[in-house]
Symmetry: C2
Subunit: 327 residues, 2 copies
C-alpha cells in the first residue's frame, strides 16, 4: 500500500520530462481530397519520404471529401515536407471536379504551423511566411497568410479568407481586399489558393449523439460555441454523419489550456440530455498535448495533483535520448 | 473543422511511438522512514547521484513513517542505484526505534523491479535475484524473493513474507519456512530483512472521502478489494488521514490493464454515495503508464479510439532521440 499524507515531508517529482531542447513545429495541412485512395496515399507518402519529420496522424473523410495529415519536426524539415506534400496536392487534386460540404479554396486548402513545447510562435510565423513564399514561387499558388502570420487584421480569420471558396475566387481577379500576400493575382486553375498560417494548439474534437436528428446537434453547437455565447475559443457545428447514422457536434477548441476537453464533453452531454439524447462516444482528431489528456484525468477523477512527470513513458523516451538525472 | 467519418478511407496513426528499444526497468523501493527529513533526503540523493537512472517520484508520509522512491533505467544502472540506496537505508534507519501503522520488516523494506515497455519480466527476475544476492553479501541482510522472483509458492505473497514484522522475525532464528533465500539466518540488528521481487505494473491510487468516519472508508475498501469479492487484482484499505481530517480508501491496482483507474473511482464514488459521502479528490502515487491515463480519457469521455500515438509529447521525445519516420 502506498500513500500520501497532506503533511508529507516532501512530495514532488524532480527534474523535467521535456526531452527536447530542440525547436519543433507541428504542421496540420488540410487537403481537398477524401475519396480517392491513391491520392490520399500519395499525400501520406510524401510526408513519410521526407527526412526528419514524424507523421503522427492522418484522417480522411469521404462525406466532407477532405483529408488531414499531422506531422512534426524541426522547422527546416517541416518546411521541406510541406513543400513536398503541397506539390503532390497540386499535381493530383483538381478542384474543378471537387465538391463537398466543407468550405474550401485550394487543393492544399490550409497549412497551419503550430509550436511544440518551448518553440516560439515567431518561429512558426517565419516558417509560414517562408513556406508561403515558396508555394507561390514554385507552385504558382496565391497565398494568404492567416492567424498569427496574417498581414492584415481581417486575414487573421481563416473563415473570412476562405469564404468566397474556389468558385468565388476563380470568378474574379485577386485584387484589393482579395489580393494574395504572395503569388499570382489569379487562382491556380485546378489547385486554387492556399491559406498558410501560424497558430497555437487546437483540439479537433467530435462528439457523437445517439440521434438521427441533426437539428439537435446544431442546437447544441450553437449553445456551445463562443460566437453565440458559449465557451471561450470554441467553434462548433452540428453535422449529419450519414455513414454512421448519427448526428455529430464537431468542435474546435482553440484555447485548450483554458477550455479542457472534459468541459466541452460535459456541456454537450447536459445539452443533449434536454432532448433525452445520450452520447455514443467522442473522438480526438490528430494530435493532442499530453497536458490536455492529463487534464481529462484530473477533472474526471479529481486527480488534482497529477503531473506529466508521473508518466513513465516520457522518462523512458528521455532515457532513450541519452539523458539521465545522475552524475 | 476536422472530422472523421466511420467510412473513412483510412484512419490511423502510423509508426510506433515507443522511443526505446533499450531494456528499461522501474524500481519502487519502500523505506521505513517518513519523518526524518535528513534521512529521506539522503535516500533521494543516493538515487540522484547514481548514473544512468531517472528519479521519477518520491513520496514520504509521517503518519505511516515510510517513504517510497520511483526510478527507472537500464537493468545494470538500476541495480547499482538500488545497492547504493540500500546502503544509505541500512546506515541511517534503525528499526528498533521505528513504529508506524504499516507492516514492515526492514529499513529497506521492499525492493520491487518492474518491466518498462517491452522489457521482459525475466529481466526483472534476474535483476531481483542478483541484487538480492548482493544485498545479502555486502549489507548482511536476510533476503526474501517475492512475487515473480519467489523461490516458493507461498513467498509470491509479500504480505505473507512480511507478516511477522521486524519484531517477529527478530525473536527467532530465520529457519525452515522463514529461512531467507540468501543472507544470514538472523535479521540485521537495526535494518531487519528485505523482500526483493519482480512484478508487473501496479497503480497506487488513493481516494479521499469527505467524511471523518474512517469506518465508511473501511466498508468501501472491503467491498472494493478482490479478497472480499470486489474487483480483480485490487487491494484496498480504509485509512484515517489525521493531517487532512479525511478518510481515505487506499488502493493498489495490481492488474491495471484489466482494471482501469476510472472503474475503481466509480466504484468508490457509488459506494460512498450510499452514505451521502462525496469524493474530495484522488491521487496517483509514483509513476503510471501513459496507457493507464489514456484509459481514463477513453472511459470518461467515450474517446473509444484514443491512442498513445496521438500524444505529441511522445513524438517530440522520439525526435529528440534522433529517430524519424522519413528516409
Amino acid at each position: 500500500m502506498y500513500w500520501r499524507g497532506s503533511s508529507s515531508l516532501w512530495r514532488g517529482r524532480p527534474g523535467r520530462t521535456n526531452a527536447n531542447d530542440m525547436e519543433l513545429v507541428q504542421c496540420v495541412p488540410n487537403f481537398s481530397e477524401g475519396r480517392d485512395a491513391a491520392t490520399v496515399a500519395a499525400l501520406e507518402q510524401a510526408i513519410r519520404a521526407s527526412p526528419g519529420v514524424a507523421l503522427v496522424d492522418r484522417s480522411a473523410d469521404p462525406d466532407h471529401h477532405r483529408c488531414v495529415l499531422t506531422y512534426l519536426g524541426p522547422p527546416a524539415a517541416v518546411a521541406r515536407a510541406s513543400l513536398a506534400v503541397a506539390q503532390v496536392a497540386v499535381e493530383r487534386i483538381d478542384l474543378t471536379r471537387h465538391a463537398g460540404q466543407h468550405p474550401r479554396m485550394g487543393a492544399l486548402d490550409v497549412l497551419p504551423f503550430v509550436p511544440v513545447g518551448d518553440t516560439s510562435i515567431h518561429t512558426c510565423i517565419t516558417l509560414a511566411r517562408e513556406t508561403g513564399a515558396r508555394l507561390a514561387a514554385e507552385l504558382h499558388l496565391p497565398v494568404y497568410y492567416y492567424e498569427e502570420a496574417a498581414s492584415r487584421p481581417e486575414r487573421r480569420n481563416l473563415a473570412w479568407i476562405r469564404s468566397p471558396g474556389f468558385e468565388g475566387l476563380r470568378s474574379r481577379p485577386l485584387t484589393d481586399e482579395r489580393a494574395p500576400d504572395c503569388g499570382p493575382a489569379a487562382v491556380h486553375p485546378t489547385a486554387g489558393a492556399v491559406a498558410v498560417g501560424a497558430r497555437g494548439p487546437l483540439l479537433a474534437y467530435n462528439v457523437y449523439l445517439r440521434t438521427e436528428e441533426v437539428e439537435i446537434a446544431r442546437a447544441i453547437a450553437r449553445r456551445l460555441r463562443e460566437r453565440d455565447g458559449g465557451l471561450v475559443g470554441v467553434k462548433a457545428l452540428g453535422l449529419w454523419l450519414a455513414s454512421r447514422g448519427q448526428a455529430q457536434v464537431s468542435v474546435n477548441i482553440t484555447r485548450p489550456a483554458q477550455v479542457p476537453l472534459s468541459r466541452v464533453f460535459e456541456f454537450v452531454r447536459l445539452e443533449a440530455a434536454r432532448y433525452g439524447v445520450t452520447i455514443a462516444g467522442s473522438e480526438l482528431i490528430g494530435a493532442a498535448r499530453l497536458e490536455e489528456l492529463l487534464e481529462v484525468a484530473r477533472s474526471s477523477l479529481g486527480l488534482h495533483d497529477l503531473q506529466a512527470s508521473q508518466v513513465l513513458d516520457l522518462w523512458a523516451a528521455r532515457l532513450a535520448a541519452g539523458e539521465h538525472t545522475g552524475g
